[in-house]
């Protein structure tokens, strides 16, 4: 981590056209994630084969159970919804050169915040929905802002602070769910159910939270590319010194971007509470923020691309249990596939980096001789 200035960013972009990592044309930018996913499925297929199951049967079961009927589709959309939000949260961070690993903590804090706003008040539906959603976002934004302020004004790496804030968030919500906000007269630590007026409805197989997630992604696709503030985000991410020279307040931008990132993760937590779980229960949000990192990298920091990336993860997570039911393969194979995908997405970046070192070495040795 650099220490030569309070607003130095550690994770920049070489590509002003918003994709993560090396400069690619549009074809390569789309092809690389797709090829990565296919490669991951191929390696996953080999693992499945060695468990004594035909990989094609396994993948057919996985996709059929997720996409083959309305129940599966509903669950895919339910599972994708928070992932779109956490993916977006990580994307916004990456745009300003920040690596927000704290989406999990921000989401969890917001999930319990929205639950409290949902059960503690009795308001007209529209007001209540807005209030609970907004309060959740506020919780997430506040949580992320701690890391944002520390980054901007004390140059503390957001990677470290967000990871630590994740742990603090777990302890905090466990405390709240088992004490302050606990549903009385039953032994499980969880909050009461939210009122009907704070519940996000599901229309047929389409949860309204999913629709919100789509709209928010599209909004950020526009915001990051077409607005002045979005331009500031990208500029700070690309070159904070140039940004400062151009009159952009780097500190303000970092704090703002982190708050926006936290609000997005928080929206994911709030929508999950209001649309799927109906209350806060600690283990129910496990992993959603971390999947967001995978999704953001798979989407190469493109807000619109988080939609298909999140849906892919949603399909895999939905199909995993049917996979075990039908074929006996352990559901964790899905985690292996996702990890491989991430590895293959990162591989071109890593390999280029290695080639560059080699090229430098060669040129140096040439210079000496």
């Amino acid at each position: 981590m650099s220490s030569d200035g309070p607003a130095q960013t550690d994770l920049g972009f070489t590509d002003p056209n918003p994709t993560l990592g090396p400069k690619y044309g549009p074809v390569k930018a789309i092809a690389i994630p797709i090829v990565s996913v296919l490669l991951a499925f191929a390696v996953g297929g080999i693992l499945i084969y060695f468990q004594g199951v035909n990989p094609f049967t396994a993948y057919r079961v996985l996709f059929e159970s997720a996409l083959g009927d309305s129940d599966g589709l509903l669950r895919v959309m339910q599972k994708s919804t928070p992932l779109i939000f956490t993916g977006l949260a990580v994307v916004v961070g990456l745009r300003v050169g920040l690596f927000n690993i704290g989406a999990q903590g921000q989401l969890t804090v917001a999930a319990i915040g929205a639950a409290w706003a949902g059960y503690h008040f009795d308001l007209p539906t529209v007001v209540h929905l807005t209030f609970a959603l907004g309060f959740g976002m506020l919780c997430g934004a506040a949580w992320a802002s701690i890391a944002g302020v520390l980054r901007a004004y004390r140059n503390v790496s957001e990677v470290i602070t967000t990871i630590m804030l994740n742990s603090i968030a777990i302890a905090l919500v466990d405390y709240l769910a088992s004490r302050t906000f606990k549903e009385p007269d039953q032994p499980i630590s969880r909050t009461p159910l939210i009122s009907d007026s704070a519940a996000l409805a599901t229309f047929g197989v389409i949860p309204s939270g999913f629709v919100i997630a789509l709209i928010v992604s599209l909004f950020f696709g526009w915001f990051l590319i077409r607005t002045t503030e979005g331009f500031r985000f990208n500029t700070v991410g690309l070159n904070p010194n140039a940004a400062r020279y151009a009159g952009i307040s780097v500190k303000r931008t970092i704090v703002l971007a982190m708050a926006v990132s936290g609000a997005l993760a928080g929206m994911g937590g709030a929508v999950e509470t209001m649309g799927v779980v109906g209350r806060f229960e600690p283990a129910f949000n496990a992993g959603l923020g971390f999947d967001g990192i995978t999704i953001a990298l798979l989407a190469r920091a493109n807000p619109i691309a988080t939609i298909p990336a999140a849906i892919l993860v949603g399909i895999l997570r939905t199909g995993a249990n049917s996979l075990q039911f039908e074929t006996g393969i352990e559901p964790e194979v899905v985690d292996v596939i996702l990890a491989l995908t991430l590895l293959f997405v990162a591989a071109p970046i890593v390999s280029r980096y290695i080639f560059r070192i080699n090229a430098k070495r060669k040129s140096k040795s040439k210079g000496r001789s």
């Binding site: 990592g21 742990s167 630590s189 779980v277 600690p282 990298l297 991430l342």
Partner: protein
Amino acid sequence: MHRKLLVAGLTVAALVLAGCSSSDDAATDTTSAEATTEAAEETTEEAAEEEVTEESAPAVTMDDSDCAAPENYCIGLVTDTGKVDDKSFNQAAWEGTLLAADELGAFTKYVETVDPKDYLSNIEQFASKNYDTIVTVGFLMGEASVAAAAEFPGVNFIGVDQFQGETVPNLTGLIFAEDKAGYAAGYLAGLMTKTNKVGGVFGTDTVPPVLYFGEGYRNGIAASNPEADITIVYHEPNNAFNDPEWGAAEAKKQLTQGADVIFGGGGNTGNGALIEIAKAPDAGTSVFCIGVDVDQYNTVPQAQSCLLTSAEKKLVSGTSDLVLASFDGTFPGGNYVGSTGLAPYHDTEAAVPADVKIQVEEVIAGLDDGSIETGVVK
């Protein structure tokens, strides 16, 4: 420069992703600990030695395509979040299911829950395939089991560790009389103590099962050794099951005061006590600890040196009994109280005199047939 940092970032991402599974586990543990008192330290019964192997995993070659046919009997099991070989509730329930399936010549397989939001849909997978009996493991699945029982009235559901407030004919909660297990442990402790000082470190007495364990233990000691000086402490309600430091400190205090048999019960708090006692120089020869819920010899290996036994809920036999009852039409509905007892002595086998073993066995039998009362008011 940028790429270098990007690589660093991706490395961090990989590390975080690798770490996230463990933090998920932590969250789950805490929940179940606070919810049920069993927490992370749960173990299995004697049958635990028989490892869950590939053969016992759902076999693709076996057929469950026609569970509706009367000659085919199908049993499904849905685990709580966690694996089927967790040496704890999931594994014990699965072993009980396998035992019954063997006896009935029934087909059986399991699904492991990853996301608690999938409890109901995992149960529905079995029910919609016309499975005859479905076992759901763990307190946290209670609501999903009730919902599934209402949705599929033709299927019998066994809720392991799920107390039923209302009686539904096709749903039976497998619960346990903790006071009996505590009483048996106390009876043994009273006979084993040389210093006539016996201790106990528990999670909060505001959670009924913990109170029953503790007070049953107290009465058991008094029954076998009326002279014994009994010190039993309960944690305050907040963080009752996740405070191993407190458990260790209390255990140490009791050791210095001369206690030579100490019961540790209450999630990580109790485990903290057990692990502390295991560090005593005389652990296993003149200083002993007693575990709770399942055979903690398997779940808390650090405590093996002092572990005399565990006040055990017999999950394997309880699950198996209920599956058999479901098969032969005597499914009780409501709550079924499984038997309780003590886990094997393991390493302390030689330290326990033969006559003590016999006396304890008689007491356990007496508790089982009701001729001995624990005196714990529920």
